[in-house]
């Protein structure tokens, strides 16, 4: 008796274990199907003409998983506010926000994508990364769903979230990289105007050095801040034509790009960077933003988000204060200077945007939410944070602080904008570009070897 009872028990336990083990995959599939069904149901409803976010209680509840990287105030709070407002207007929608730091986000997203557990809305820079996600069928074609409002956004930004003419995401921010500089430190070094050419820039760097000021802070430990220099010099040397060419043939063994490396070498040879720059991250007390925010270095090549980060590291004031009051001295912005003999125009830009890609299983409410946060009123509120350059037409009026205005002007003058190279290419090649740039900054490779190494990485 005793034994007879025991064996089935063991078998039962075994079965339970097997079930539990398989349960993970099984229930995941079930979830997916449910979401898809909901999605189709709802899309049929919303496809009907004239439907907006109607506050009808009988709608099936949906959840939108939203991953973003605006992990500091005021943007972090603003996104939460937008989500709360949207949920209030659409009671059937629940928006779950996951906020992550940039680098942590990249690692976490990769894991989730691989597991097929795609967030409904997630930070995207477009480019090669988005293309890979499209090829793997992880993001959703929202051409149809977004057609009602995508025309309200600037074409340049919208285009970043298209692959082969199909819309997969919606931008909210577009800027370009340029030089942020501390005017007070420039004055101390006897420099009265920002440099217009690369040679002048190198002279100013030397002048700052002679005055005992660390000329440049760069977060070469994170690598991408250093890649801004190399990329910009490539754009100045090669121009639009060369950049479009390399996007096709992935061949960096070109005289223009080697020349870009040589020019970068001239800068590095001046030893203009803060101590420990090779290990320094971008945004940390011991990073690039920390050195600039505390007035320990004069120049930083960074995008429109630069001043906000410097202010946060300055230890002065609170996030709600105007950025200018928190910075160590008066700051200014100048575009990357012209390079003599280069094919690129001094108005060619380098930058990119932020936006949200729409996951494959996202309900249409996710796109409606994107419509909400990029609508004119909300875009203006976004612009007023001084952290973002909204891409909604007409929202430029919200940009009033001189820093963001300078970037906006540079962007307005841009004859060509190249997307960040580490986002433009596949993640693998982007990482190779960044790694090679770090070795250039460490002085362990020649410009020729650098071009060779990137080309080899592209060849696989």
């Amino acid at each position: 008796m005793n034994r007879m009872r025991k064996i089935p028990l063991v078998v039962l336990a075994l079965l339970a274990l097997i079930l539990a083990a398989c349960g993970g995959g099984g229930s995941g599939d079930a979830d997916d199907t449910t979401t898809t069904t909901t999605a189709t149901d709802a899309s049929e409803t919303t496809a009907a003409p004239g439907t907006t976010a109607a506050p009808d209680e009988e709608m099936e509840p949906v959840t939108v998983e939203w991953w973003h990287i605006q992990n500091t105030d005021p943007m972090m709070t603003l996104w939460q506010t937008f989500a709360d407002e949207f949920m209030e207007a659409n009671p059937h929608v629940t928006i779950n926000i996951t906020v992550m730091e940039n680098e942590a986000f990249k690692a976490a997203l990769q894991t989730n994508l691989q597991a097929g557990d795609v967030p409904d809305l997630f930070q995207s820079w477009g480019g090669g990364g988005l293309r890979e996600q499209v090829d793997a069928g992880l993001v959703q074609d929202i051409t149809e769903l977004s057609s009602g409002f995508i025309g309200n956004l600037t074409e340049g930004a919208v285009g970043l979230y298209q692959v082969d003419g199909v819309q997969y995401g919606v931008p909210f921010n577009l800027g370009m990289v340029g030089f942020w500089y501390n005017k007070d430190l420039f004055a101390q070094a006897g420099i009265d105007a920002p440099p217009a050419t690369w040679d002048e820039f190198l002279e100013d760097v030397q002048a700052l050095k002679d005055a005992g000021i660390t000329p440049i802070a760069v977060g070469a430990g994170d690598k991408w801040p250093a890649h801004f220099y190399y990329s910009y010099l490539m754009i100045r040397e090669g121009g639009e034509a060369a950049m479009n060419q390399v996007a096709e043939d992935l061949d960096f063994n070109k005289p223009e790009f080697i020349e870009a490396g040589n020019e970068l070498q001239r800068l590095i040879d001046l030893e203009p960077f803060q101590p420990g720059f090779l290990a320094a991250p971008w945004d940390a007390p011991d990073g690039e933003s920390g050195a600039i925010g505390t007035g320990q270095a004069a120049i930083s090549l960074m995008g429109q988000w630069g001043p906000g980060a410097y202010a946060n590291q300055s230890g002065v004031g609170v996030p709600e204060d105007p950025i200018a009051d928190r910075l160590p001295g008066e700051f200014g912005w100048f575009p990357f200077p012209a390079v003599e003999g280069g094919a690129g125009a001094p108005t060619d830009g380098f930058g990119g945007g932020d936006g949200f890609a729409v996951g494959r299983d996202a309900p249409p409410e996710a796109v409606q939410f994107l419509e909400y946060i990029t609508s004119l009123d909300q875009a203006i509120r976004t612009g007023e944070t001084e952290r973002v350059l909204p891409v909604t037409k007409g929202a430029e009026v919200s940009v009033t602080d001189p820093y963001q205005l300078a970037v906006l002007e540079g962007l307005g003058n841009a004859t060509f904008v190249q997307l960040y190279l580490d986002q433009f290419f596949t993640p693998e090649l982007g990482a190779a570009v960044n790694d090679v740039v770090q070795t250039l900054f460490a002085g362990t490779v020649t410009p020729e070897e650098a071009a060779e190494a990137i080309t080899n990485a592209a060849a696989g």
Binding site: R3, K6, I7, L9, V10, A13, L14, L17, A21, K106, A107, Q110, T111, L113, Q114, E132, Q133, D135, A136, L138, A220, G221, Q274, P275, G276, F277, L278, A279, A280, D286, T426, P427, E428, A431, A432, D435, Q438, T439, A442, T444, G460
Partner: protein
């Protein structure tokens, strides 16, 4: 004793039960199953999956279609950066054996004596081991940063000429990290060896000193040989730890700058999660697994032989 009796009586009642004193198979299975299931799901299954992935060129997103055979292994073993990473592991392992263990032995011998406040010292030296690697990494990154605590401390005693870019200079960073690793783990080895010392009967050392052995002779010919098994286990843990080294490096330098502090594990994570080359990263993980297995087996076979009578490799 009581358990024995119960088992015996049960076995008497049911003669088909097999060898007396051995639990019936459902009981064995019942106890084994939970652990076995977990082991299968979280260890065996991922390992077989890694081996499978390692034959593909795969970015982790697309379907597994691009079979490349052993190409990933060839690429990895031909990549100077991977070889460099292996060398870094070897350097850390070697330094641990040469510096960290002798230091721990010395401290343990010192603290096994009747020293005033030795309890306090033992706790103090052991404390770093209690911290997680991530906490250790974050704290030491701040201490070692330019113009950080170390630099200021050195400056205040007039040694500012000797300050270095501890984590940013590619030729120094590995040794800075070795220092941090030793700081974290020497206390652990010290405790192991202290325990070993307490197992050595006092009479033996007394006998040696009565026979006229100096302190050094007593230590060299009595204490040290008897401490052998403990030291060998300590060394084994050190080597395994050095091979697995990841968290602390990832938090402080991510293996940089320019891969100067990379280890096999940071190399593998970099290729998997930053470059999205999961096929290649899987191949690297298989190599790392193989290397660790070989080292562990060889060590057991040749060094731990006497300590592990009856073990698999003995």
């Amino acid at each position: 004793m009581t358990t024995h009796k119960t088992v015996d009586t049960k076995a008497d009642r049911r003669p088909l039960k097999g060898v007396p004193g051995v639990a019936p198979w459902p009981v064995i299975a019942g106890f084994l199953l939970p652990a076995l299931a977990l082991y299968t799901v979280f260890v065996l299954y991922p390992i077989t999956q890694s081996i499978r992935y390692s034959g593909f060129s795969w970015n982790g997103l697309e379907p597994l279609t691009n079979w490349v055979g052993l190409e990933n292994f060839r690429t990895a073993l031909a990549d100077p950066l991977f070889i460099e990473a292996i060398q870094h592991n070897a350097i850390i392992a070697g330094l641990s054996l040469l510096v960290q263990i002798p230091f721990a032995v010395g401290l343990a011998v010192l603290l096994s004596r009747n020293l005033k406040g030795r309890g306090v010292f033992r706790t103090m030296f052991f404390a770093p081991y209690v911290l997680s690697e991530v906490v250790t990494g974050v704290v030491w990154r701040q201490i070692l940063r330019p113009d950080g605590l170390i630099d200021r401390l050195m400056g205040s005693v007039g040694a500012d000429g000797l300050t270095q870019e501890w984590l940013a200079d590619p030729s120094i960073v590995l040794y800075s990290l070795f220092f941090v690793i030793s700081w974290k783990y020497f206390g652990f080895h010290m405790i192991l060896i202290l325990a070993g010392l307490q197992l050595i009967p006092n009479e033996l050392e007394e006998a040696a000193s009565i026979d006229g052995a100096s302190w050094w002779q007593g230590f060299r010919y009595v204490t040290l040989p008897l401490l052998g098994p403990t030291i060998r286990v300590s060394m084994f843990l050190s080597i395994i730890g050095a091979l697995q080294l990841f968290d602390l490096i990832w938090v402080t330098t991510k293996g940089g700058p320019i891969n100067a502090s990379s280890t096999m594990a940071t190399y593998l994570v970099d290729w998997g999660f930053r470059r999205g080359q999961f096929g290649y990263a899987s191949a690297v993980s298989v190599i790392v697994f193989g290397l660790s297995l070989i080292v562990a087996l060889l060590y057991q076979r040749f060094v731990l032989r006497r300590d592990l009578q009856g073990a698999l490799t003995a």
